[in-house]
């Protein structure tokens, strides 16, 4: 039983790394900027699709592809914020939600048209051969997913805590007016934050192609899961989103392993209901003292 449990744990961490990356991006867009972003799953899949274009079609090196995808999707996120979100800033939740729904319908179907309807794998330089540690099986690709997840998370932490931009971001989202009054270009911070969140989802999309397959239909479930994780972590709590992602991955895996795979996706939503009723500030934050 224990060997299986350990395998479930590792499985959960792999899924959890994806959730964490998705949620980290969404915590910026939804948690900090308060945009109910229904296109988040599409940003995720788009990362994979763009990677496919460079890596498989143009034959660009896989690691270089990651850099290109991050750069392009960052620019795409910035453009999205500038064109679609900025004009609606300060309006009712519904307006931005609807614009992102429009964007998601547009992106998903445009991807189906350009990328094709057939699922595709990425030419990643990973051996398919399993690595066996004791009773646990893992592959290079899955290990890579965990590592990239960890790196992205650490990099985000450094960015937020140590850099000038990170400080401007924190200032903007804690007290927007004060940030403007010390000279922060608040609009630019919003745009950069949206771009960063988009890029983060796209990295997860590249990993998706490297470890599993890329297919636009993955987007909807991914969006929903990302929302779930952001709530678990506590809306504006970025480290919380990471912890929430890993936790959801592990809990789902254990639930699927020992209880029922059919009901696996229910857990996340049940947790959301439970948390919002009893700990609306998330699982990991202390009760805010305001």
């Amino acid at each position: 039983m224990l060997d299986v449990a350990l395998q479930f744990l590792v499985n959960g961490l792999v899924t959890g790394s994806f959730y964490a990356l998705m949620a980290l991006g969404l915590a910026m867009i939804f948690g900090l900027m308060e945009v109910v972003n229904f296109a988040h799953g599409e940003f995720f899949v788009m990362g994979g699709v763009v990677a496919y274009a460079f890596c498989n079609v143009l034959g660009v090196d896989f690691y270089l592809t990651i850099v290109i995808v991050v750069a392009l999707m960052f620019a795409f996120g910035a453009a999205t914020d500038y064109l679609l979100i900025r004009p609606l800033r300060g309006q009712h939740l519904l307006s931005t939600a609807l614009v992102t729904i429009g964007l998601s319908i547009f992106l998903i179907n445009t991807m189906l048209l350009t990328f094709g309807t057939s699922p595709q794998g990425l030419d990643a330089p990973f051996s398919r051969k399993p690595i066996i540690i004791g009773e646990i099986v893992i592959t290079e690709g899955r290990l890579f997913a965990i590592v990239v997840g960890a790196v992205a998370i650490v990099a985000t932490h450094i960015l937020i805590q140590k850099t000038r931009l990170g400080r401007a971001m924190r200032a903007t989202f804690q007290q927007k007016e004060a940030a403007a009054l010390v000279g922060v270009n608040v609009e630019r911070v919003y745009t950069l934050t949206f771009a960063l969140g988009t890029a983060m989802a796209a990295i997860a999309g590249v990993l998706l192609g490297a470890v599993f397959v890329i297919h636009p239909s993955t987007a909807e479930l991914a969006t929903l899961k990302a929302f779930v994780v952001v709530i678990l972590g506590g809306m504006t709590n970025l480290p919380g989103a990471v912890a929430g992602g890993l936790l959801l991955g592990v809990v789902e895996s254990l639930w699927g392993g020992f209880v029922s795979t059919g009901y696996m996706d229910v857990i996340g939503f049940a947790l959301v209901i439970f948390i919002l009723l009893f700990r609306p500030y998330g699982l990991f934050a202390p009760r805010p003292g305001r």
Partner: protein, 325 residues
């Protein structure tokens, strides 16, 4: 605000006369879908438009109405008309329970918790095969019929029958909504939407009014579910899905939330646009997404605000002042 009444009555008269003028079953089908979506979108508008809460769980009430209708008529053998009442009530009860739990949360949390409720319900419906028949759902749901003295008076063999049933539902929905919006209660809820703190300070309990709106919205969503079940005659778990949720959101946003006519316009425009875009084949939905984004960007208050926008530029007759919506 009563300025909306006259054109609404004119619209109603036109709607009653419509089947006499245009015959064509496909056209009638689209009109029935427009009416059906009008009820559905209006029911969401009571919640999202008037108390300003973005509920993503509304499809669940629609789904409950669908399943209540299907299960009662197929499994329990009840009459279609009894099922109608129960479908509405079942959804209202669910609305009461979910509303009671969720309405104390605000903004973003409310969005997510309602979404979570709908998803849990959808997954239960898929997995609990013994009761819900799982993913395959309920086919062959009977059509309604009106029986008087043992004789079938109306057998709903033609679309015109459904059309008038849908029209009656629309009228009831809009009438109830009108009563709610222009009651003291409705004015209070508008006050809440505009300024929750102020509303509280003048002694309005926002929770109570939000509850009434939420339950009322759920009830009409359930009714529209009943109609859908008997008209389409097939119900599967997709009725709980995100597809219907997105459709009604788009309708109230494109038409104009927080107005009586907004969802009517939204339901008509979206149903027809989606249909007219068929010529675009594969790029149909891409185009639709693009149109949706443009519509929200240029008419954030919905198409009902178009005359106002035009009037401000002097392109529409009338005084150059801003209207109330």
């Amino acid at each position: 605000m009563s300025s909306q009444r006259l054109p609404l009555l004119a619209l109603l008269a036109a709607a009653i006369a419509l089947p006499l003028v245009f015959r064509g079953e496909y056209f009638m089908h689209l009109m029935i879908m427009v009416l059906f979506y009008t009820v559905l979108a209006s029911s969401l508008n009571i919640v999202t438009g008037y108390i300003g809460q973005l509920s993503l769980g509304h499809a669940a009430f629609f789904g409950i109405g669908c399943y209540a209708a299907a299960m009662l008529t197929l499994d329990a053998g009840w009459s279609v008309w009894t099922a109608m009442i129960i479908a509405g009530l079942a959804a209202a009860v669910a609305g009461f329970v979910i509303g009671y739990i969720t309405l104390r949360l605000d903004g973003h949390y409310f969005v997510l918790i309602t979404l979570a409720f709908a998803e849990v319900l959808r997954l239960v419906v898929i997995n609990w095969e013994e009761v819900t028949r799982g993913p395959l759902g309920f086919p062959n749901i009977p059509r309604p019929s009106i029986v008087l003295g043992g004789e079938v008076m109306v057998d709903f063999s033609s679309k015109t029958h459904f059309y008038y049933v849908a029209l009656v539902l629309v009228v009831i929905t809009l009438w109830a909504k009108h009563r709610f919006v222009y009651s003291a209660m409705g004015r209070a809820s508008v006050a809440i939407r505009e300024n929750p703190r102020l509303a509280q300070s003048v002694g309005i309990d926002p929770f109570y009014y939000s509850m009434v709106a939420f339950v009322l919205g759920a009830f009409f969503a359930g009714l529209s579910g009943w109609f859908y079940a008997h008209y389409i005659s097939y119900v599967g778990p997709d009725v709980y899905g995100f597809g219907f949720m997105v459709t009604m959101l788009i309708m109230i946003a494109v038409g104009g939330r927080g107005t009586i006519v907004g969802p009517v316009i939204g339901a008509a425009i979206i149903t027809i646009v989606v249909e007219e875009l068929r010529f675009a084949r594969e790029i149909r939905l891409s185009l639709f997404g693009l149109l949706l984004m443009l519509s929200i960007l240029f008419f954030p208050r919905g198409l009902v605000s178009v005359p106002d926008l035009l009037r401000r530029r002097g392109w529409w007759p009338g005084a150059g002042k801003t209207g109330t919506a």
